[in-house]
Symmetry: C2
Subunit: 339 residues, 2 copies
């Protein structure tokens, strides 16, 4: 079922079949029809592997996970789905590269063995060795999130700084004066995970600007850690009346912790943050939050990467997303002090 077989049955040469298929040279209508008939009859599809070898591109994009992560958040997983769909829309497949274990071995394989035409990197750190590696190797890539020096790379990111700032302002306008910030896990923060750092910056800046007292906490990416974080927050400052979080996995635990400490949302305590709308609407009361759109990020990432493959020398483009904060039921006026 290879091209030679088609050529033989159609009574033409292999190259003629190839040209008929690609349209890169003109073929007489009769010949083309004869070839097409044979192709239809045998249900022939050219081998992707052979095509990749000779043409030099695989029509596949690589999606790279960080070495350390073995636990995926919903946001990441949604992003994967949307990336695959977006890529399929352009006729590209997506190859998942898990870099487990030592260093960036998985990435090296992807690049050095030339399995993909370009790569999408997730879970970017402010100082990311993978970005340096790909830049030096001249391998086309797009990052989800920015490094500390984002000028020369192509990326798609959420504007965490601005979004967390919006949340703080929202709370400040409601009269809250002592606000906690529940960040991602200590491990991720220590590793330099960019969204954790930019979120914190946004929190600190906004608190200062609004003249409110802010206290930032790290919190593991699970419900139990969220519950624990509430304990720490209220122990440190019982007068806290609101929190902002970027840790959607801990959200359920945060609510539970508040209930356990007798704080009713949103009467006694307001909660807001950044989350997938799926999570924001799953909790009771529903979360007032900036709804991140994994689908939008996936589409943008694919578009950026294909642009790069088509025109490698075009100046780098970036996409910075800042979805509006959806008002739901988890925030309200600050309780009157002294009550």
């Amino acid at each position: 079922m290879n091209i030679g077989e088609i050529a033989r049955r159609a009574g033409v040469s292999r190259s003629t079949v190839s040209y008929a298929l690609s349209g890169k040279r003109s073929i007489s209508p009769e010949t083309r029809a004869r070839i097409q008939a044979v192709i239809d009859e045998l249900d022939y599809q050219p081998s992707a592997t052979a095509r990749a070898l000779s043409s030099g591109h695989t029509h596949t994009l690589g999606l790279v996970f960080p070495p350390a992560s073995s636990h995926y958040t919903d946001m990441q997983l949604d992003f994967i789905g949307s990336l695959v769909e977006a890529a399929a829309g352009f006729g590209y497949d997506v190859l998942m590269a898990a870099s487990i274990g030592d260093g960036d071995k998985g990435l090296r394989r992807l690049v050095a063995e030339r399995r993909v035409d370009g790569a999408v990197l997730m879970e970017i750190r402010l100082d990311d060795a993978r970005v340096d590696y790909l830049s030096e190797a001249g391998f086309p890539f797009v990052t989800i999130g920015r490094t500390g020096r984002p000028e020369h790379t192509r990326w798609v990111d959420m504007d965490y700084t601005a979004l967390v700032g919006s949340c703080v302002r929202h709370l400040a306008h409601l009269g809250h004066r002592r606000i906690a910030f529940v960040n991602r896990s200590e491990r991720l923060f220590r590793a330099g995970y960019e969204s954790a750092h930019r979120s914190l910056t946004g929190f600190e800046n906004a608190c200062e600007q609004q003249g409110v007292v802010g206290a930032a906490y790290l919190c593991g990416d699970d419900a139990a850690s969220g519950e624990d974080a509430i304990g720490r927050i209220l122990a440190a400052d019982p007068a806290t009346t609101a929190l902002v979080t970027v840790n959607e996995a801990a959200l359920g635990g945060l609510y539970r912790g508040l209930a356990a400490h007798g704080r009713e949302v949103p009467l006694d305590f307001s909660v807001t943050g950044i989350a997938l709308s799926r999570w924001a609407t799953a909790v009771t009361p529903q979360l007032t939050a900036a709804d991140v759109s994994a689908a939008e990020m996936g589409r943008a990432a694919v578009e950026l990467l294909l642009e790069l493959l088509a025109t490698p020398d075009a100046p780098p483009r970036h996409v910075l997303l800042a979805p509006p904060v959806s008002l739901r039921a988890s925030t309200g006026p600050a309780p009157e002090s002294g009550n």
Copy 2:
């Protein structure tokens, strides 16, 4: 940076380099060392594409989504992650095939263009055209879930019938006599999605066996639908005191609906079901549920598929998982009737 370059620099033929790399023929220690030195110096990695073309296998597994689904559940997404990690552990990559649009075009491409050595099919229906197609084509595959005639295929599945049965028995032993079942969406059920059907069977059988009154409901895969389902359940039979669900995406809505109708969990109403432990622990009170393990399913699927690739004629193996029901805080004794 190809094999010819290595051969030239090491002063040997290309085939010698190939044999040194694969170890399929003996090479003298000196020659081997010389070749290795050149390889190390140039950081040479053989092209995956060329290797695939000549060797006939791609060292890649395909992961196939159903055409209709554009919205992923957490369980599916977790499964993807674990599949990728499991495959990586065996040196395989995973290619994601989104079959958007018409029929099984995406699947055809995967198979006909020979992009992958074998495929994993998700979201299996009782009567699944993709399974028939792959079977006829003689293409190696493993399904997540079973079709209606599972004898001759290889699959990994949860024992939904048994698990839902366990949940019903648990409730019956607590004294509940009127139990509702919240299934997946009508669309999925109509499409013949196997877990929805097998769950229902398990529910009906167990109710009959336990002599309790069971009422089954379909429910969209989101929080709002869950809230709505509670309304329907209590309207149809206000005396209902417990529910079993396999719809984890609706879980938050179910809780909210119960609260809205003045039912306190677990005092007035017990909730149980099948869910990722991530979701089960995210709600308040935490859900008594059979914790599904996406990681275990991913690993099992890869193992089954690699077994099949290694020994195509071995009799088909299956893996049926039935995790125990974890007792948490969402179930309790039935409220005394008349109260």
